[in-house]
Subunit: 226 residues, 2 copies
Amino acid sequence: MPYSYEYPRPALSVDCVVFAVDLDLKVLLIERGLEPFLGSWALPGGFVGMRETTDVAALRELEEETGLANVFLEQLYTFSDVERDPRERVVSVAYYALVKPALVTGGTDASQARWFSVNDLPELAFDHSAILGVALERLRAKVRYQPIGFELLPGKFTLGQLQRLYESILGRELDKRNFRRAFLRMSILEELDEMEAGVSHRPSRLYRFHRAAYKRLVKQGFNFEI
Amino acid sequence: MPYSYEYPRPALSVDCVVFAVDLDLKVLLIERGLEPFLGSWALPGGFVGMRETTDVAALRELEEETGLANVFLEQLYTFSDVERDPRERVVSVAYYALVKPALVTGGTDASQARWFSVNDLPELAFDHSAILGVALERLRAKVRYQPIGFELLPGKFTLGQLQRLYESILGRELDKRNFRRAFLRMSILEELDEMEAGVSHRPSRLYRFHRAAYKRLVKQGFNFEI
DNA sequence: CCAAAAGTGTTGAAACTACACCCATGG
DNA sequence: CCATGGGTGTAGTTTCAACACTTTTGG
């Protein structure tokens, strides 16, 4: 006899802000096929089932609506304004996802999804602009003190790519020598015996994020920081 | 005709982790008067109404259950494990609150609330131990890069109090000279023409957090960090 | 040979760590 | 006069910011 049964409940949904870096920072949006906001762009998302956590719901909706799977996903914030959905009361648990470049082109099959540069966004349905704003803020803050940037790069990458990634997220240029020194000093990058190929300039050495080394350092009290 | 009407919904609740510093870091808990977990200690919280945001619900529940009002409150995380409540599916938006010392003694009138040191906690109902753990982790991280520590001190405080606050949250000792230098260098403290009184040692100068100065600095790109 | 990005060192300023003694008050 | 916390300076080390030229490749 749970006493909450007697009361009406808000509906519960999830929304996902999916980031990728192509040349600059991009977000994946869906064109709505239903009222309200029919034809508007919106974040992928949907309602939470009775037998799934919100994490699982977010992954499920992401795959259903965009075909993306195996992405980095983290809870962002819960949005609960009473009027945020014109139909009825809906509380939404927002997530942000980070997607590697390989999935950007191949991943979003036959759907009505499209990547938009964060510097050139359309108007969004519901309060999705606000959600996206919070996600951007979080990404910009978090990339500086957690090594999540690697989730937006291929497994093997050059220091140039890594630097351009940081520049596109932080929105400002960084000094090449200082950037390299800072990253290499941390010793969380594995230097590979492999070079970039097929580029019309001096090829760059490839690196890989050394997750085990990072975890070891964290245990010793190390703090990632850029 | 919102399509979500057709589906059952999880219940939605809020839970609050209320922190204060007395001698060490403390958390406010409630002794449950209802099944399940009757007699256990639990976080203050309750169900979210149809016409209130989760923020408002958290403040309301906090006042109803503990008498506390005018506290610093921030959303923590949303917990949605399917089995987290044995009665039925309940998704809970967790908050953490920071309370100034004056409210610790006076605030919690006639209720079954009690402060516990975080180093000596009882077993908690539901998944409240996990929520508390996340809150502690967040507080420890956040106190280092946002000036929220002041929410746990009186308006006027000594540098000694401030240092002991940081020591009790971070759980380690800090060097007095370095700590003072670091804080004073930021110039976000207003030095008052007023001394501590009634102590049986050399009285300390009082300071106040200078919120306006802090905001000005943030606009210029300043990053608080301890 | 041109264009394009890779790669590399130094210097001065600022911040960080570790550390020990005297001061003012109440009891 | 004792106990208690308040208050202060320095030296060595590390980190940070700013800055320019040579190298290697493809076309």
